[in-house]
Symmetry: C2
Subunit: 478 residues, 2 copies
């Protein structure tokens, strides 16, 4: 937890931004698996963490701007809680010590407070709920119907929170560095383990163990797969075989719940085949081009355009694409191979603030997502980068048999795509690399330490060479 002054400062800024009304922020509850008391690990809402720091289920908070009143609401601990969960400070003490909030009241008091606010026709600002328990709480607190909630969400509050959260402070950057440090270890472990005969599940389990052993957690479900072309593949049932590529997309969450999010693709056999090396290098060239493009004042949609154009040019060189590459990317023809965006914001969430809405997080009113070229429509982030923003860079190349078949049958983009040639790559799979990047005053900085990324470095690391030795020889070359 940061110093309570941090949270007080953030809330004071929020009051200024929103300027009037009552801000209602709902914390998350425990989530049940198969019966009420059998719960998943608790994950607090990120905006609640950002403004209060309290990593405790079942809380809500009020910031009444005009009355300069702040309160946390919840159920105070009982002797039973202490018997079953061990001695701890009362919630009232924790609210005071960690959030700097003097008022701690029951949930019944929250109901009363909100009723009074509504009677006075004052505005209650709240965020879009993504958890069903918080939808229920809003229905009950605000006395509205479920399908009415979306119409009374506070866009002012959303914009104010994004304005604060999108620029990471120094203390937040240190937390992200910690998360990415653990994430590095997850990838180094997997890179070493990915050999013929091991299962995806065994690697995923070893990767999962690393943040847990540090008393942290995973930031998102682990993708550990020999089917890299299946973009959201959370099954781990395959056995790794010679000649395959193994893709890991995994990240740790620091103790304070900041995310790391990296991907690496490594050859199961220890060395890449000639064909794998060609596709890998096209992807890595795009990855490096996108990184180089990052900096303050640059629109992220141009970073994406850079990556997409680089991939399309590479694929043209080996005959999979053809024609005017700029026109091909504008039309979206590259999306046969590169279906997703080049990256997203990262912070307290892996896809930072995704619950607040893509339009607000990734775009601006002047340049909304709808105005994007067709070829950029899968992009989560388009707006201008500023110092303190943290983004991922993760272009990929994927050969998805069902998609190739569908597009070919539809004769989609036949002016840009050589389908006969593309079909030779069915079964290739898919690959990507992903790094986490801080936008600085004069450019960018990649978080974390050295995790092999070139085909040569990966092969050397898998052959048993140490990171120090690989790094030393790279320095001599430079």
């Amino acid at each position: 937890m940061f110093n309570k002054e941090t949270y007080i400062k953030r809330r004071n800024k929020l009051k200024e931004q929103v300027s009037s009304g009552v801000i209602l922020l709902l914390g998350n509850d425990e989530s049940s698996m198969n019966y009420a008391d059998n719960t998943y690990h608790f994950r607090q809402d990120s905006s609640f963490l950002y403004f209060f720091g309290l990593d405790i289920p079942g809380l809500a908070a009020i910031i009444d701007i005009e009355n300069d009143f702040e309160a946390i609401y919840g159920t105070e601990l009982s002797i039973d809680d202490i018997v079953w969960m061990g001695p701890q400070d009362t919630l009232q003490q924790q609210a005071l010590n960690y959030s700097g909030i003097k008022n701690f009241h029951t949930k019944a008091e929250l109901n009363k407070y909100i009723s009074t606010i509504k009677e006075k026709k004052r505005r209650v600002h709240f965020l879009p709920p993504y958890r069903p328990e918080n939808k229920i709480k809003l229905v009950e607190l605000l006395d509205v119907k479920l399908d009415e909630i979306k119409d009374i969400i506070s866009v002012n509050l959303i914009k104010a929170i994004i304005e604060q959260r999108e620029i990471k402070s120094e203390e937040e950057i240190i937390e992200i560095e910690k998360a990415v440090g653990i994430t590095n270890q997850m990838h180094l472990t997997a890179m070493k383990m990915a050999k013929p005969g091991i299962t995806e599940a065994e690697i995923a389990a070893a990767v999962h163990q690393i943040p847990l052993a540090a008393d942290c957690n995973i930031a998102f479900p682990i993708i550990a797969t020999i089917r890299g072309e299946v973009l959201h593949n959370h099954h781990h049932k395959n056995i790794l075989k010679e000649g395959q590529l193994f893709l890991l997309d995994a990240g740790a969450e620091s103790k304070m719940h900041y995310a790391g999010d990296m991907s690496r693709t490594t050859p199961v056999s220890g060395t890449f085949t000639a064909q794998q090396k060609i596709i890998y290098d096209i992807c890595l060239t795009a990855h490096e081009a996108a990184l180089q493009k990052c900096g303050p004042g640059v629109k992220f949609k141009d970073v994406h355009f850079t990556a997409a154009t680089s991939i399309a040019e590479g694929l043209k060189q080996i005959g999979l694409m053809k024609g005017d590459i700029k026109a091909a990317v504008e039309a979206g023809a590259h999306a046969l191979f590169f279906q997703c965006g080049t990256g997203h914001m990262m912070g307290l969430d892996t896809h930072d603030m995704e619950d607040l809405g893509e339009q607000f997080v990734g775009y601006t009113a002047e340049e909304p997502k709808e105005l994007l070229l067709f070829g950029l429509k899968s992009l989560r982030l388009g707006k201008v980068l500023k110092p303190g923003m943290v983004v991922t860079i993760e272009p990929g190349i994927y050969f998805i048999p069902e998609l190739i078949k569908m597009w070919k049958e539809e004769k989609r983009f036949i002016e840009f795509i050589n389908y006969d040639k593309v079909e030779e790559y069915i079964g290739f799979g898919g690959l990507r690399n992903e790094d986490d990047v801080l936008i600085t005053e004069d450019g960018y900085r990649v978080f974390g330490g050295f995790v092999p990324k070139t085909t040569e470095d990966i092969e050397r690391y898998k052959a048993g060479e140490s990171l120090d030795s690989i790094l030393a020889s790279k320095k001599i070359l430079n």
Copy 2:
């Protein structure tokens, strides 16, 4: 998944039991962590798994008894799903192939069906919802208020489901054996790792890795603690030190989601102190006495009474308790040391069917929980054991400073408890062992293989002796 005939047979029996009306069973949805698409691992509802076998989020099912109509409702896969999640059978095919159900329809069709049923004033049977998303679905489907749901839950359906699920079939027993087999490995690993200098988190992570590596999961949050007296302790922040006891309560869930649930307590130093050995042996004697008591026709409350009496007698021998032990246990004086029940049912859930209500799962109308002696009030299960039931046996002894202080100040049970002597044990911590037990025609059988449980066996195993060697010398002795 079992053969589809298994599910058809179970549903046919359910129809007979409930005899009229429409049974509505809701599957679980994905649960979000910090934004909608960032989800915990999916856990299907256990009753839905039991009757349909479909391990897929977002489904609901109808069994219309009089019309002999069955249907699954959900959103059929799209080309996007295949692009993002890989090729798979349609949900319609899966419902047919795995559940033996021909009808697969959209959720809008479910709404229509339920509306028709309600117009005809026919009964809709449903279970108590434990997940907020299913509370919302019931509110919308049945057009009732949230707080009205509890009044229209179908006790008939609850009782019918418990009647089936509480007796495990041979194929279910094989699944539980698999889960307990993995659970055994979790405990053996922790027993070896628990040494001075390691953290609880490092052990918990290694324990968690084991089911994940087998492409399974944990059945419940891992308790891995040097503070065994904190009964529901899911923090793993301590470093193990010489002289401490380390308690692991952990279990795997098989691929078909059957649970294992074991506990072991081991000395961090490798050997127990004289004081630890005394308390440990009192607990183990109670554990063995409870096991021996298990069998068909025996009430589980008598198994619990056996364990509680054994602990109280042991504590009397060393001067912590005094007076008439039978009277002490009936009054509940032992609950200063043994606060929870001796065990619970286990199956698709760790606490099997806990969502259906303790009164129905653990007790009978003739002998409801309210009739229990005060000293048994924390017991989840009281009723007569039958062949095919699976229960845990887990008496424990816990020295909880806050509870000792409170009881002493209240002068509670001063005729049975020597508080001055008890206070010497503050700081001792807490311990238990836990095994999973099948009730057979002629007694009981403990699931799984050999995991050291006597102080001698644990010390030998921690000293590096193999399980085979320890087992061999035990056989010579017997």
